[in-house]
Symmetry: C2
Subunit: 95 residues, 2 copies
DNA sequence: GAGGTATTTAGAAAATATTCTAAATACTCC
DNA sequence: GGAGTATTTAGAATATTTTCTAAATACCTC
């Protein structure tokens, strides 16, 4: 995992929207695609980018591939941003 | 400000390094450039990207332009990531 | 205001990212 | 194993990003 890869993955609006959809729970590639005006191939490309950035992982079930959020990388992002912002650790509240 | 712009700005390693340099305090464009093997024009380009993302702001003094971190946008990023990650607000600790 | 330093802008080349169509793979269920 | 659905991969077209060189602007000092 690299921050560059993660931030790049987060820089695309479609990919951010995918992550927000996944916030509610796992979805198949097809389900995700139905929210966008893009071909399945393009959705698959975006999912690959998110997967390579470790922002999502997949699990196979029946004839579907379900995607879900990987929150551990989000933690790392928070930590990096927080360290840059402030000071020494990842506290957000207080100061 | 848009998240896309901010994440895109953060996706480049040189730009992240610039931000880390600025963490210690304001620096002129030339000072920043001296840390990189790039032309001044390229540094200027990266500073423009960071400025447009509101991650830095500039102040002019004598013949120099000093750049410094703008932490308020970092707050917003933290909030967005945190909301995606978790739950309801920006708390990092505890859970 | 002329000369000097700092920085940005313009324009072009090269690299990377995004999207599509068409074809391939993967897996299920009969 | 064959038909059918879900998803990915390949390859190409277009758009965007990154970098450079050369020139322009901005500002200071004398």
């Amino acid at each position: 995992m690299s921050f560059g890869e993660t931030f790049k993955a987060l820089s695309d609006p479609a990919r951010r929207q995918i992550l927000e959809l996944l916030k509610k729970g796992p979805l198949s590639a097809g389900d995700i695609g139905s929210h966008f005006d893009m071909t399945g191939a393009t959705i698959s490309y975006h999912l690959k980018v998110l997967k390579q950035a470790d922002l999502v992982f997949e699990s196979r079930e029946k004839n579907y591939i379900y995607y879900q959020l990987n929150t551990s990388v989000l933690e790392e992002i928070m930590l990096w941003v927080s360290t840059l912002k402030g000071g020494t650790n990842a506290n957000v509240e207080g100061e």
